[in-house]
């Protein structure tokens, strides 16, 4: 185990800055009734740039779900949702967030009330039902941005449908905000969004260095900005700063895991209430989770963005994201990551809260084992509801898995 002194050097300077930015952001959002700004609740994979262009503050119930999980409030809130009639098998983000809305509780005293709801189903069908619940409860306008699943292709008919919805989205925002959409600003916001994604990808890329200067657990933390404030200068500035810090760490040979011996890939969302425990458990095996499929999803569709025609290209970029594609498409991304980050094994989080992310994992696991020849393991949880998590069972599995990796790699 590392000494406290070493822990201090391994702390990221940027973490403090990020907390400041997030605090400012939430203060800004919570004081919207005083400042006259509108607040939109939006799904994590939703098209946020038009909100930035319209000066609407985007608020993310999913980001809030992560906060709830990390602050160990998930079990209590999920239990409250169950008392309201929501099945314990439903997504724990949704359960916790729905309970918060009614209870007016949770971290930071609850989210600011929405003036509108923007639901993009590119990540799951759950968000549709979740936002319908909020639309009934808050009685505010709901815009559904419907992105047809691209199992094997993105046909022209889907492209046309999604593109048309961008116009409808803009009309919706103009109606709710009572002012016109400034198309000229879309170039600037689009550029910042793309730049933010590029920088985020570069930050994640630094973990390709052996040993890695950061872990997936760091990525889970630093992800918040690319999700919430994509399309703003503050994100670009922040990730530039973070990228510089990573370069400096490589230069000064400060590694995330001091004696990194094994490199692992994480699949699915984090287990929010056991981040530190999982991080420590793997670190005790000198294993570094160098990358994950989850945080990569926020820069995975950059290739579809056209900077010169941002609005048009959003249709494809928002439809062909990691979860909205077939399992065989997803596994290609996994293969690329296995090679790029040179990993020795994969840890799959079978997440009871996220069926579209989790069903198909057994097939992905088999394909990765066959084609990449690396061991894979699976751990199960509800990402924000710790009542179903078995720490001892998970620890036993991790030990057995690491033993397998050790035997294979030496």
């Amino acid at each position: 185990m590392s000494t406290p002194d070493k822990d201090k050097t391994r702390k990221f300077r940027a973490a403090k800055r990020m907390r400041e930015i997030m605090t400012e952001y939430y203060i800004d959002a919570k004081s919207a009734p005083q400042t006259g700004k509108k607040v939109a609740w939006i799904t994590s994979g939703g098209p946020v740039e038009p909100l930035i262009i319209m000066d609407v503050i985007p608020v993310y119930p999913e980001n809030y779900g992560a906060m709830i999980g990390a602050s160990h409030m998930g079990a209590d809130l999920c239990g409250k949702a169950e008392a309201m009639g929501y099945s314990a098998d439903l997504c724990s983000y949704a359960r916790a967030d729905i309970a918060c809305a009614v209870e007016n509780g949770g971290p930071i005293g609850g989210l600011p009330r929405p003036d509108m709801l923007i639901c993009c189903n590119n990540i799951c069908g759950t968000v549709l039902k979740w936002y319908e619940v909020h639309a009934r409860y808050f009685d505010v306008p709901l815009f559904v941005f419907d992105t047809p699943m691209c199992h094997t292709e993105f046909p022209d008919i889907a492209r046309k449908y999604v593109r048309k919805q961008l116009d409808e989205y803009i009309d919706f925002l103009e109606r709710v905000c009572g002012r016109t959409f400034d198309l000229a600003r879309s170039t600037e916001v689009g550029r910042l969004s793309l730049e933010g994604q590029r920088l985020w990808q570069k930050v994640l890329d630094t973990a390709a260095h052996k040993p890695a200067p950061m872990t997936a657990f760091d990525a889970f933390f630093f992800l918040a900005l690319i999700v919430t404030l994509r399309g703003t200068q503050v994100v670009v500035d922040f990730y530039q700063e973070l990228l510089a810090e990573m370069a400096e760490r490589i230069e000064r040979r400060i590694w995330a895991i001091p004696n990194e011996r094994y490199r692992l890939l994480w699949d699915n969302l984090p287990v929010w209430y056991r981040l530190k425990w999982l991080s420590d458990t793997f670190a005790a095996h000198d294993a570094c989770l160098v990358a994950d499929t989850y945080t990569t999803a926020w820069c995975g569709s950059m290739k579809y963005i056209n900077e010169d025609n941002f609005i048009d290209s959003m249709a494809e970029a928002y439809t062909r994201i990691y979860l909205n594609i077939g399992v065989d498409e997803m596994v290609k991304t996994v293969y690329d990551m296995v090679d790029k980050y040179q990993v020795d094994g994969m840890v799959m989080h079978s997440n009871r809260s996220c069926k579209p992310y989790s069903f198909g994992q057994y097939d992905i696991m088999r394909m990765v084992q066959e084609n990449k020849g690396i061991p894979c393991m699976m751990i199960e949880s509800h990402m924000t509801d710790e009542r179903t998590f078995s720490e001892s069972q998970t620890a036993t599995r991790i030990d057995a898995f690491m033993e397998m990796i050790r035997q294979k790699k030496g």
């Binding site: 309201m84 009639g85 929501y86 099945s87 098998d89 439903l90 997504c91 949704a94 189903n121 799951c124 069908g125 759950t126 549709l128 039902k129 979740w130 319908e132 619940v133 639309a135 009934r136 709901l142 559904v144 419907d146 047809p148 699943m149 199992h151 094997t152 046909p155 008919i157 889907a158 046309k160 449908y161 048309k164 919805q165 409808e168 077939g326 399992v327 065989d328 079978s350 009871r352 069926k355 579209p356 989790s358 069903f359 198909g360 994992q361 057994y362 097939d363 199960e380």
Partner: protein, 371 residues
């Protein structure tokens, strides 16, 4: 064999029925979800067969699906992998819930039935662009079928198919209404078998047999029973025993909001003009299932409408475990009923029903408090 027996036979052994059709030279496509545009499949001369999934011996699917997957998806995959669907020429996956989406991928990667199509329908059914997209998707599916089976689906064939389906849906609705007025005409499990049989049988034959059944039942004298009137709400019901248990407990299922029920037959297709556009309108306007988005209060209003129209005393929610869309709507639908003073109960089911004694007691307790 009486028409009723024919439906019951097909419902009891859908695989046997489909297999015999296949050996007589008919092509067979399996499908999930009441949003499948069966009309186009039928117009191609292919038999659409709704797949309900095995109730037991599903362990082969455990290599592909975690324990928290619903029994419908698990059972269907198990059937496919165990060779119980050897009569299929292919399968069709309309956009439904997250689980069916992933089943589509797993099916495509692990089974080999020849034809395969994702029919990626819009999820929101509120805008002109969504209606247009729905129409485009149906045209694409028509084209995929033509290409996959090297055939042509003419507008005439499609129109004839729409007429057949209108007839089937109208007959099913008539039967439901007849049963609502006079539950003694046939048992709930028999009506459920008619419904499921009509999703398997040759559709021209089904249309004709339904007509014969309706006139046979219409001739039965009206009786006045003292049973309470209940409604079933959920995804699908392929557990015919439930009806008998409810009847023994003193109530008749007089209406439902199920995809093996009213959601299947509501919505008649105009048979004038462009048949694909007419078909698109039907799927756009029909009563939605919770995996689709229309008005956020539509399902509650629809439910209360049916409760009033059919003088329902109480509602039984039949919730398939791990079914996200229905589980999300349940608290709101319950609240709607509670506000209107309509008693309701929730029954969570998996592939196997709870023990009969326990189930009977629950139904009796619920039905005894209805008034």
């Amino acid at each position: 064999m009486s028409p009723l027996n024919e439906f019951q036979k097909a419902a009891r052994d859908p695989h046997g029925y489909a297999r015999s059709m296949r050996s007589s030279g008919k092509k067979v496509l399996g499908y999930f979800c009441s949003y499948t545009p069966e009309e186009i499949i039928h117009a191609a001369g292919i038999l659409p067969v709704r797949l309900f999934g095995a109730k037991d011996d599903t362990s082969v699917a455990d290599k592909h699906l975690q324990a928290y997957c619903c029994s419908l998806v698990r059972g269907a995959l198990a059937d496919a992998m165990n060779g119980r669907l050897d009569y299929l020429d292919g399968a069709v996956f309309p956009h439904t819930c997250d689980s069916i989406q992933r089943l589509s991928d797993i099916w495509r990667l692990n089974t080999g039935f020849g034809f395969f199509a994702d029919v990626v329908l819009p999820v929101k059914l509120t805008t002109e662009s969504a209606r247009q997209y729905l129409e485009d998707v149906l045209r694409k599916f028509r084209h995929d079928l033509e290409k996959g089976f090297s055939l042509t689906i003419t507008d005439e064939a499609l129109r004839a198919s729409l007429r057949t389906y209108n007839e089937i849906r109208q007959s099913l609705k008539n039967l439901y209404e007849l049963h609502s007025k006079n539950p003694a005409v046939l048992s709930g499990s028999a009506l459920n078998a008619v419904m499921r049989g009509a999703m398997v049988m040759d559709r021209a034959e089904a249309a004709q047999k339904l007509r014969a059944l309706a006139s046979e039942l219409q001739a039965k004298p009206a009786t006045t029973g003292s049973n309470k009137r209940v409604m079933l709400v959920g995804s699908l019901c392929d557990q015919p025993d439930i009806y008998g248990l409810i009847e023994s407990a003193g109530a008749d299922v007089v209406w439902d909001d199920l995809c093996t029920g009213s959601r299947y037959f509501e919505g008649i297709i105009e048979d004038e003009g462009d048949p694909v556009a007419s078909l698109a309108r039907r799927y756009f306007e029909r009563i939605i299932c919770p995996a689709k988005h229309a008005s956020v209060r539509g399902r509650g209003e629809n439910l209360m409408g049916a409760v009033r129209e059919h003088a329902v005393h109480g509602v039984i929610f039949l919730q398939l475990k791990f079914c996200d869309p229905h589980s999300f709507d349940y608290p709101y639908l319950k609240e709607t009923l509670d506000k209107e003073g309509v008693p309701n109960m929730l029954l969570e089911i998996e592939a196997q029903l709870p023990p009969v004694g326990q189930l009977a007691t629950r139904f009796e307790t619920f039905i005894q408090m209805l008034h």
